[in-house]
Symmetry: C5
């Protein structure tokens, strides 16, 4: 799991059907002091994260397939928690 | 999943049989402002991405095997969405 | 598995239900001389690691799902050992 | 999957039995213009890649176990295509 | 799989039970000329690697669980070969 800050979201009309109805957030990994570290990830969000919100994201195929209810989904990263404080 | 820009494609005559008939795109991870970040990936494409198109790619073995219809395929990365806007 | 130093912890009220009751540690990968290397990870901890403790963390979906007792959990990283010496 | 250039090979007498009879190539990830990017990987090769050949490599546990015919093999990365042109 | 040099080992009294009896090596990824590249990994060793030995390591959950004989083990990285020459 990574500590990230939400930097924006992706609008994609043409996409894998299992992505329909899910927000796709651009999540920038950060360290404890909020500095960016490494490559941004794209994650689905079921927690309701806002712009610039700090979040915890995780990458797990089976959990993601469960979340979207599609056993053939290629989704991996998802927001699993909204950070109140560090 | 990563936000990438399509930088080109790979022509490979000799390859694993499950790759036959699939375009292999060179995808450069980018951040929200379009700057390159990290190592390029090679992904198959079922969405019809063009050169310099921004895409979302994902790496999932079971979804890729489903996509190409070969339970022994080593394919992992695929284009799962074409980005309209950020 | 990575050698990390615990840098803090994450407080998240809104989160995936399988995270309830687990401490979420911010773990900074380090090299043998203690210098930071690469992106911090967030890990659950069943070993009782303290702040600045050096730990070994691992990322495995099936082991994490076993640990938290939830077959649909997206948790991946966990503390698997407390380092006495290097 | 990554775009790589073959930089050499590894000779290992003492190794996991599932590696017996397989060439182990040192593969350097490159970008589209051939510059090195990131950490080299070690991959098995069933395609017959030569030194300095550009290749596509992939990391998939189940495909690798199928390839070497050993359900307990720890092999992950393999050459899946020889690049003719970019 | 990565080409690494053994840089030391980790002593951990408190740890996941599946780690009992296994040496935990700190393995630094290197390139073909021996220069360090990227983040060190911690790996179990069944091959008998010595300090400063060059090794090939791999990360595979099912192979690691087989190796240690514990279906719930979180172990991923292991030494799979001792390098004689490059």
């Amino acid at each position: 799991m990574l500590l990230d800050r939400v930097e924006g979201n992706v609008v994609a009309t043409r996409k894998h059907p299992s992505l329909l109805g899910w927000r796709l957030l651009i999540c920038q990994p950060i360290n404890q002091t909020g500095e960016p570290e490494g490559v941004p990830q794209v994650a689905i969000d079921a927690q309701g994260a806002g712009l610039h919100q700090r979040v915890v994201i995780s990458s797990d195929g089976s959990a993601a397939r469960n979340m979207v209810g599609d056993e053939k989904s290629p989704i991996r990263w998802m927001v699993i928690g909204l950070v109140d404080e560090l």
